[in-house]
């Protein structure tokens, strides 16, 4: 059941004219130059040209596109804002790239029930902006929130820096409208909190566009905390910083955000954002507390106390909103900052149990010497999600391959210590091989059985997410 098994051959021009019967000409893109912006997502080391880019303007049009593609057995890759970091929206050369950016309407905000109903092309931050006047916000805030779409967030189960306290996308979605591979419409979840029966919504969230197409999403909104402060601490070694993270949690504190950066990341970020970070520190911690004024004050005191107890060389508490923003500015611009000091960088996304941090950082540092490539580490310390950034130069022959091999070793290390290969970026095309490290053959067969149940002909985002049995055999024989 490969994607290539075409029922009846249909040429690209014929297919385009079928789409143009119900979608404006402008939104059925066939010219190479116009398709160019869609050839990759946020992981540009993978590029591919789709046969057509189709941009439907309604759920009904999505349904018709899916029906046609299903009828002609044409692969469909769904794309949101294209900010994904695992090649999940890489086009299929024989397929249609289904762009949902035109579905960009906020349909309803009900502040009283604290929910918003939106189309998938709405950008993450727009939801919080639309609810701000009511003192509400949408909690998951991936770093790309200015650009990334909520539909893409659903596909990847996006997180952000506030996951520990506020959860991932899967914890903040109430209901979704799904168009199936056959072009049928179903609703999962409801406007209450729980629905009876198996949780199809949870199965669909994070499924990387492999099981269905989401065309409407109802998300939960939360009241904005009245107070928010950040504690910024420097450490002269990585180990005590890692231990301090665990100690804060052990003290019964759930920070709203809890981030760690190593020296390479700190220096690049400081140079770029001038956030006032201590560039001599081996690691810094950023710990954000939110809630009522009393809650925040008591949290800040406890956290600062723990940091001092673990030998922090300096501890600063943000005194106003401007300073809080400044403390965050360095962290939030860490990726572009690294981009300035290296021709290219490759961002990894493994998650580990927090207590393994020192061991994993040592392992990464050893690998860094072995491969001769520097690494800067940015770490969502609160939830164990690491983002080692491998610095390399794609123009040097063989360096990308070397980088990928290095990255694979980091992910294997994450699995070895009880973690996983991807915390929030998804498997995409990038981590297909590591799926064999994460899962055994029976487990992969079960995942493939789920895929077959939703998409028997393998038309939705083929070649991504879960390696087919055949691919597994190929990988193993290498």
């Amino acid at each position: 059941m490969s994607a290539g098994s075409t029922r009846q051959a249909v040429d690209t021009a014929g297919l385009a004219s079928m789409f143009r019967e119900f979608i404006d000409d402008d939104y059925v893109v066939s010219k190479t130059e116009s398709k160019r912006p869609f050839e990759c997502d946020g992981l540009p080391v993978y590029k591919e040209m789709p046969r057509l880019v189709v941009m439907p303007g309604s759920t009904e049009q999505v349904r018709k596109v899916m029906r046609l593609c299903h009828e002609h057995r044409i692969p469909v890759v769904v794309r949101g804002a294209g900010t994904g970091l695992s090649g999940g929206a890489l086009p299929h050369p024989d397929g249609v790239l289904l762009s949902l950016t035109r579905l960009s309407r906020i349909i309803e905000v009900d502040p009283h029930a604290r929910l918003a109903r939106v189309q998938p092309g709405v950008r993450n931050i727009e939801i919080s902006e639309a609810s701000d006047a009511h003192g509400l916000f949408y909690a998951p805030d991936p770093s790309s929130q200015i650009a990334c779409s909520i539909g893409g967030n659903v596909a990847e189960n996006a997180g952000g820096v506030h996951c520990l306290k506020y959860g991932l996308t899967v914890h903040n979605v109430l209901q979704m409208t799904i168009v199936t591979v056959t072009g049928e419409i179903m609703t999962v979840g409801n406007e209450g909190l729980d629905s009876a029966g198996p949780d199809l919504m949870a199965l669909l969230i994070g499924s990387e566009g492999m099981l269905g197409v989401v065309t409407e999403i109802t998300v939960k909104l939360l009241p904005k905390p009245s107070h928010c402060q950040v504690v910024l601490a420097s450490f002269d070694a990585v180990e005590p910083a890692g231990d301090a993270v665990s100690a804060v949690i052990a003290n019964g504190i759930i920070p709203a955000g809890f981030e760690m950066m190593d020296q390479n990341a700190v220096r690049a970020a400081e140079d770029y954002a001038h956030a006032g970070y201590d560039t001599d520190a081996a690691a810094i911690l950023l710990c954000e507390l939110d809630g009522t004024a009393d809650e925040v004050q008591s949290g800040v005191d406890k956290v600062a106390g723990v940091f001092e107890q673990f030998g922090a060389t300096s501890v600063r508490v943000s005194q106003d909103e401007a300073e809080r923003q400044l403390f965050w500015k360095g962290r939030k611009s860490a990726f572009p900052a690294i981009g300035r000091i290296s021709p290219d960088y490759y961002c990894m996304d493994g998650t580990i149990p927090r207590r393994m941090l020192s061991r994993v950082l040592r392992g990464i540092s050893d690998l860094s010497s072995e491969f001769g490539l520097p690494v800067a580490n940015v770490f969502h310390a609160g939830d164990g999600n690491m983002h080692p950034l491998i610095l390399f130069d794609e123009s040097k022959p063989g360096e990308l391959e070397k980088t990928e091999a290095f990255g694979a070793r980091i992910l294997e290390l994450c699995v070895e210590v009880g973690g996983c290969i991807t915390g929030e970026h998804g498997v995409g095309v990038e981590k297909m091989r590591q799926m064999l490290v994460q899962f055994d053959a029976d487990e992969l067969a079960q995942l493939n059985a789920i895929k077959d149940a939703c998409d028997p002909h393998g038309l939705l985002n083929p070649g991504k997410g879960v390696p087919t049995l055949k691919r597994c055999q190929e990988y193993r024989s290498l």
Binding site: D110, H112, A113, R114, L115, G135, E156, N157, C163, L164, G167, T182, E184, M186, V188, N190, E191, G192, D194, S195, A196, G197, P198, D199, L200, A202, L203, G206, S207, K224, P225, S246, A250, G291, T292, E295, S298, T351, I352, R354, R355, D383, G384, N385, G418, C420, T422, G423, E424, H425, V427, Q434, Q438, D442, Q446, L447, A449, I450, A453, V466
Partner: protein
């Protein structure tokens, strides 16, 4: 022979004969769902803590571990099962709580048991022992098979191990009570929900709204003063009665319906016997009612209704499913349990 090997043998045997298996943990939820059929396969001896890492906010337990044992283990380290899943007289197990997706009064603020599950191990219909998810909070490798089990009532496999996120216990809790009718309570609970308050419970019962606040003592005292109302003594008893369904409202054998709706949807059937929980999102209705009428009400309220107790337990009790969704669940059943051995018909007559 280990409990796990016995379970796998039993599944293999049942699958070869296409015989039904009825999954039993603490047997505390026998009355939930459609009438159980098949030979029992016992999970209760698959119990105990596998790994507990308080600083990771994570515990891994075997599926037959009772909720009450789990609570005790966590309490020793000042932590808790945040979903407040009922323990039904120390009988309920973590596997059963997840399979039935049962969460208590704190659900709107702390999340459901489905929200907190990080990973599971399960035996599928081919008697394979599989692991999905893991022990970390962020994990998007593969489909979310763990959360798919929430509410599935064992339809897709036998849970053998559950890893779950836990939270620190709040320093203190208190409850305030204000007399009002259901309409007013629904409005008030949603109004209060819009403000950042340390709420961990909001329900309306017997003509009064109950609000629970949890957190540092000084914080909840300040919040309580702002909310007004009368302090409730021994409030822990009230909330555990709500969680365990031992309040007088749940007494007797009359029919029980559960509506999951948009929290601010208007109060309906005002002569009915109602208990409104989860700040308005979960509404219990006692007594005989017309299913079609309730379905229509639930649909108008953005939600659905399930027949939790009473009526014909051989009929369909969950919201009816037709078309593609029904088809999809049937195919999913095939994907996990091709011989159809696990809890056949427990959720739906056709599944």
């Amino acid at each position: 022979m280990s409990a796990l090997t016995r379970i796998q043998d039993q599944v293999r045997d049942a699958a070869s004969k296409s015989e039904a298996l009825r999954i039993v943990g603490g047997d505390s939820k026998r009355g939930l769902g459609r009438e159980p059929v098949g030979n029992p396969v016992n999970v209760s001896d698959l119990a105990g803590v596998v790994e507990y890492q308080p600083t990771e906010l994570m515990i891994t337990v075997r599926a037959g571990t009772t909720i009450s044992h789990l609570r005790d283990v966590l309490a020793e380290k000042g932590q808790m099962l945040a979903s407040e899943s009922p323990d039904y007289g120390s009988k309920a197990t973590i596997g059963g709580a997840l399979a039935c997706n049962q969460s208590g009064p704190s659900r709107p603020w702390y999340g459901s048991i489905r929200d907190h599950v990080l990973g599971v191990r399960l035996v599928n219909g081919k008697a394979e022992h599989l692991r999905f998810g893991g022990q970390v909070m962020k994990n998007v490798a593969g489909y979310d098979v763990s959360r798919f089990q929430a509410g599935a009532m064992g339809t897709f496999g036998i849970l053998t191990e559950v890893s779950i996120k836990v939270l620190p216990r709040p320093e203190a809790s208190l409850t305030v009570r204000q007399e009002m009718d259901a309409d007013q309570a629904i409005r008030a609970m949603n109004d209060i929900g819009m403000k950042p308050r340390p709420l961990t419970g909001a329900c309306w019962y017997q003509g009064a709204m109950f609000l629970r606040l949890s957190g540092p003592k000084s914080v909840i005292e300040t919040s309580a003063a702002a909310l007004g109302g009368k302090r409730v003594d021994n409030d822990a008893e009230f909330w555990s009665g709500l969680r365990e369904q031992t309040l007088p409202f749940f007494d007797g054998n009359q029919d029980l319906w559960r509506l999951s709706v948009r929290p601010n949807s208007p109060h309906v059937l005002s002569r009915g016997d109602w208990l409104i929980d989860w700040g308005g999102a979960q509404r219990w209705l006692a007594g005989e009612h017309d299913r079609d009428e309730l379905d229509a009400i639930a649909a108008k309220s953005g939600g659905e209704v399930s027949h939790i107790r009473g009526g014909d337990r051989k009929s369909d009790l969950l919201p009816s499913l037709v078309g593609i969704k029904r088809e999809l669940l049937i195919r999913m059943k095939q994907a996990f349990d091709p011989a159809g051995v696990f809890n056949p018909g427990r959720l739906y007559s056709w599944l």
